[in-house]
């Protein structure tokens, strides 16, 4: 296999720092590339880059490659890698943290679409009605039509009710989902949500700089 060299200009340190600042970022630099995560992953054979490679790529700041790979989207969130990592890096949580960054960068794919539909259903009705979920996703992904016979067989068994399951009182949901709204917030927990005035904290200033650097690119 031909080895590709990584040119300094393809490395995006702002991206690296952005990931290092997330709740899982702290330990990422300690990765010793042992490969336990890749060996434990049930779907690594289908990934563009294994979890081990992805961690290294984050360290190097290979933003484009990381965010456009299928790795973060086909992770089944089984946590095998996370519980086995000798350095406590939690690759599963890293994938979770990378998803919103990818979406913010304009990456769209069927997994992101599904997550978005799922999220919106919870936001509106508080519960995930499978029928609603599947039908909305099918409208977005026409290939789903071939799942129709399966859906019908589930209905015959009384396992896919057409009625929408919702909470009686969805009042609190708005406030809960607001917690995730602010644009600058990438899994950060430091800041209050009112958002209008920003306190001049050093950490935040840096983060703003990062954000600015991102948008200039």
């Amino acid at each position: 296999m031909k080895k590709e060299s990584i040119l300094p200009e393809s490395r995006d340190t702002a991206f690296r720092d952005q990931v290092l600042k997330t709740h899982v970022g702290e330990k990422i630099l300690t990765c010793m590339q042992c490969g336990t995560c890749a060996g434990s992953c049930p779907v690594s054979h289908e990934m563009d880059y294994t979890p081990r490679q992805l961690v290294r790529m984050v360290q190097l700041g290979l933003k484009k490659e990381v965010l456009s790979s299928n790795t973060i989207w086909i992770c089944t969130t089984c946590f095998s890698c996370s519980v086995r990592c000798p350095r406590g890096i939690h690759p599963t949580e890293l994938m979770e943290a990378l998803k919103p960054i990818a979406v913010a960068e304009g990456i769209t794919n069927k997994n992101a679409k599904f997550d978005n539909i799922f999220s919106n259903i919870i936001k509106n009705s508080g519960r995930a009605s499978e029928f609603l979920l599947i039908s909305r996703y099918s409208l977005a992904e026409p290939g789903m039509i071939k799942q129709l016979p399966f859906g019908l067989s589930m209905m015959t068994k009384g396992k896919l009710p057409l009625s929408i399951d919702r909470m009686e009182n969805t009042g609190e949901l708005e406030a809960i989902f607001k917690l995730g709204e602010p644009k600058k917030e990438i899994n950060g927990i430091k800041e209050k949500e009112t958002g209008k005035e920003k306190e001049p904290e050093p950490a935040k200033t840096e983060e703003n700089k990062t954000a600015e650097a991102e948008t200039k690119k």
Binding site: T76, F79, A97, D115, Q147, E172, I176, N187
Partner: protein, 281 residues
Amino acid sequence: MKYSYYPGCASHGTAVDYRSSVEAVFSRLGIGLEEVKNWNCCGALHVPDRTVKTALSARTLASAKGLDMATPCNLCYSNLMRARTELQDSTLRTRVNEALTEKYDGNTKPKHLLEVIVKDLGLPKLQEQVKKPLKIRAVPYYGCLLTRPENNFDSTENPRSLDDLILSLGAVPVKYYYKTKCCGGPILITNEDLALNLAKELLVMAKESGADCIVVTCPMCHLQLDAKQKEVESKYDIKIDLPVIYFTQLIGLAMGLDPKNLGLSQHLVPTDKLITKIGGK
């Protein structure tokens, strides 16, 4: 014994059979399950924002009224456990609590129903209720999120609780090396080929073990292994025909409860042969 009960969304849809068996078995065991009023989804694996997801679980945990919170679903259990850990961070907790009417105080313990039976009730107590020891061989399948990333009650790498439960019902738990390997459920809708491939691996290994059924603890695993079994068979041109039953259904059968009340007729892989072998109706 009394618990606050968080059924999760699947119990109103693809897992109505699980729900019936939980109700039948727990009432026979005299374990009270008080359903959380106006409960909300835990966010499963698809609400991308971490704070929102934590807050969804926090809201549920806050409504437990001093009881431990029991749930039948591996995903719900895992999310409740993760949220509990994350909310030890007081900054996050304060922030989340600002959004909640009933405040989260950190006192509610999440428990999977398997834990309630194996640890809290205890297997000797369960055995007292066994009317019909099950003379079958069963695959104990735990799935991912019962033991990972964190749990209260069993080993992450080599859990035993379900094996022990099967044994206490008079059945033989077969050696199953994939007992915590992922079934592919979370990517079933979006990456079907890959998900079916994972399910195939599990099903083939289970079939080769010569077991009479697979026992699961999670609606997502059940969907993958039972409801999708036919598709796996036709896609890979193999014959599996292996019933997949919830651990509560297994308990119910050993108690001599009517299979209909346990939701066993709602499976996609027929369970008749298994029920006949056990000597049920």
